[in-house]
């Protein structure tokens, strides 16, 4: 997890809980409604955006099963911008022409801890679950991905920004034909 050096721990107020939950819902709305430029505005300039692979491991029920060496996303703000540019400034992003209908169902928002970082910004370590559903063309079946996210959400100049996101899929074999969406 990328988080600046903590200076002091913060208590998590109802107000912060509410603001962060609303931030995640707003983010999901921007993605669902394909307002990707608006979504990029929510990302901190130094965002870390990763999706490692899930694997099946031997051992007891709680044996770790994320392979961090194997990934599906390893992005910076600039690379995410390039991905968005492909969708809105090229004529041939076939995976998203026309854009499949998509929903991000975000739940179980849990703020694990908050700190004041060295730069004097509040940062909260936030867990959430996601269920992503997508329907293309006239398909009778819908694709889905689900799993957990670990975010760092930071307050910069009075605005909440996503500073880090690690996406942990629960499927070892992905249930979508591609990852042309953002999670």
């Amino acid at each position: 997890m990328k988080q600046q050096e903590a200076v002091k721990a913060l208590t998590i107020s109802y107000e912060v809980q509410n603001e962060i939950t609303q931030f995640l819902y707003r983010e999901a709305h921007l993605l669902d409604s394909r307002n990707y430029r608006g979504w990029l505005d929510l990302l901190a300039e130094d965002i870390v955006y990763q999706m490692p692979a899930r694997i099946t491991t031997e051992g007891k029920h709680d044996t770790p099963n994320i392979d961090y060496k194997s990934r599906y996303f390893e992005e910076t703000k600039q690379s995410l911008l390039t991905r968005v540019k492909r969708l809105d400034s090229t004529s041939s992003a076939w995976a998203e022409i026309s854009g499949p209908r998509q929903r991000h169902f975000i739940s179980n928002v849990f703020i694990e801890k908050g700190v004041m970082n060295e730069g004097g910004n509040e940062e909260y370590f936030v867990r959430s679950n996601f269920l992503f559903k997508r329907n293309r063309g006239s398909a009778l079946t819908s694709e889905e991905l689900f799993g957990a996210r670990e975010d760092v959400i930071r307050k910069e100049n009075g605005e909440w920004k996503l500073a880090s996101r690690i996406i942990y899929p629960d499927q070892t074999v992905l249930g979508t034909i591609n990852l042309s969406m953002f999670l």
Partner: protein
């Protein structure tokens, strides 16, 4: 005519005639009987890629894989030997090991507790002496080995056919090109992490052909990458170079970025400090190819590869090379599971390896800007291939797919310095026709009569 699971020999001979004329009937992309026949005749009898050596680092390491519907347990034994078994308990058939990878000395079946070591020997039977006595010979109940396992340049293959030709003979003149891709560095190549896995609603022949023999699709399927400057913005890219038809349906495209023959990104963008090592390990002809071209091709039937170089999505400077191998595992006539590995030279600097991986993620695999569009289009072929017209085996609607590009028009380059028959451009269906010829020959091959079955 002899019936082969719903498809007659006559049907197959007709297909062969159509292929000679440069067309492939569309029904073969979605027909269940054809698929079942392919599983037996193609996947049951060809060498199938299982793993790269670097995935089995030390004695006790194992990975589980699939050859179509056969679960395979691949182990590294105490002595360092690689062994492959049907991943199924010999007692009642249970899937023995459910993990994707790991390290252990033995495998115990959860059903009745039979235990095997990583040599495949049955070493423990729960309450064995009391219930089976001395009469049962344990050795008769060892894990069932894959009849043929061998590796070439670190690539481990298995073949279920008892009478298979050797891996070396099967690969034939493809080996020269595998040497070039995998043998350029002293330390060889290594895999980074577990393979990516995802499922596409597509026929395996469509995906296999897409990688091995169809650079033509790049100019339009991947147009967005040209528009973004990730791929060269030349309408003829990647047509420049050579398409090389190799033994047994294998093939490679040696792609040039432009028509000068000299790559603006020498040695595929690998660090200059490594060039002398490449020159030492490769012969002159191979060295020239690594220096000035990029590779995309396949080992028939379902192992695709790409050794290419792309910029990162977040910077304008620097091109990073990677080798991607992928298996198209057939799951159904309209379903393929993609297994995709990133490889890079073990000797490359650590920082370069990481950038190489990010370059791979940016372009290939399910999140890659190029492959995202591939998957969409492969699945569209399936969507349009299931109806009465596309499925008509009498071909009364002219439901053929066109493989006429370059046919009888483009002659081989006699001066080409490598093995195989090389044509002086990559926008060509010659390699596709060779793949499908191999396919029909495998389907037509007589099943050898088993000499004796216990």
């Amino acid at each position: 005519m002899e019936k082969q699971s719903g498809i007659t020999k006559e049907t197959l001979l007709n297909l062969k005639e159509k292929l000679k004329a440069g067309v492939l009937p569309q029904w073969v992309l979605a027909d269940r009987d054809m698929y079942d026949l392919e599983i037996k005749q193609v996947f049951g009898r060809t060498w199938q890629f299982l793993a790269h050596e670097s995935e089995l680092k030390e004695p006790g390491s194992y990975v589980t894989r699939w050859i179509a519907n056969d679960p395979i347990l691949l182990t590294k034994t105490k002595s360092g030997e690689i062994k492959a078994f049907l991943n199924s308990c010999t007692h009642r058939g249970t899937l023995l090991c459910t993990a994707d990878s790991g390290k252990q000395k033995s495998f115990t079946c959860p059903f009745h507790g039979w235990t095997y070591n990583n040599e495949g020997d049955l070493v423990g039977i729960a309450v064995g002496n009391k219930v089976y006595g001395e009469e049962m010979n344990k050795e008769d109940w060892n894990l069932r080995p894959v009849p043929n396992v061998d590796s070439y340049q670190g690539m481990i293959f298995g073949n279920l056919d008892h009478k298979a030709e050797s891996l070396s003979d099967y690969l034939g003149n493809m080996k020269w090109y595998l040497d070039m891709m995998l043998g350029r560095s002293d330390g060889g190549m290594e895999v980074q992490g577990s393979p990516q896995r995802y499922v596409v609603e597509a026929n395996w022949k469509v995906t296999a052909e897409n990688f091995e023999s169809d650079p033509y699709h790049v100019q339009f399927t991947h147009k967005s990458s040209k528009e973004l400057g990730i791929a060269p913005n030349d309408p003829f890219f990647p047509g420049h170079g050579h398409q090389v038809v190799l033994d047994n349906g294998h093939g490679i495209n040696l792609v040039q970025l432009d028509d000068t023959g000299i790559s603006p990104i020498p040695y595929q963008g690998m660090p200059e400090s490594m060039w002398p090592m490449f020159q030492k390990n490769l012969n002159k002809e191979q060295n020239d190819m690594v220096k000035d071209t990029f590779f995309v091709g396949g080992v028939y039937p379902n192992l695709g590869f790409l050794q290419f170089t792309f910029p990162l999505l977040d910077s304008d400077n620097g091109f990073y090379n990677f080798l991607n191998f992928r298996v198209w595992r057939p799951l159904a006539p309209d379903k393929v599971e993609v297994w995709s590995w990133h490889l890079i030279d073990k000797d490359a600097p650590q920082e370069y390896k990481e950038k190489s991986y990010v370059s791979f993620l940016s372009t290939f695999g399910p999140s890659g800007l190029l492959e995202q569009d591939d998957a969409e289009i492969w699945s569209r072929v399936t969507q349009a291939s299931n109806g009465i017209m596309a499925q008509d085996k009498d071909l009364s609607y002219n439901s053929f797919l066109n493989y006429l590009m370059g046919m009888d028009r483009v002659q081989p380059n006699e001066d080409f310095p490598g093995p195989g028959v090389a044509y002086p451009l990559c926008f060509l269906d010659t390699l596709s026709r060779s793949m499908h010829k191999r396919w029909i020959d495998l389907l037509l091959a007589e099943t050898p009569v088993k000499e004796e079955v216990r």
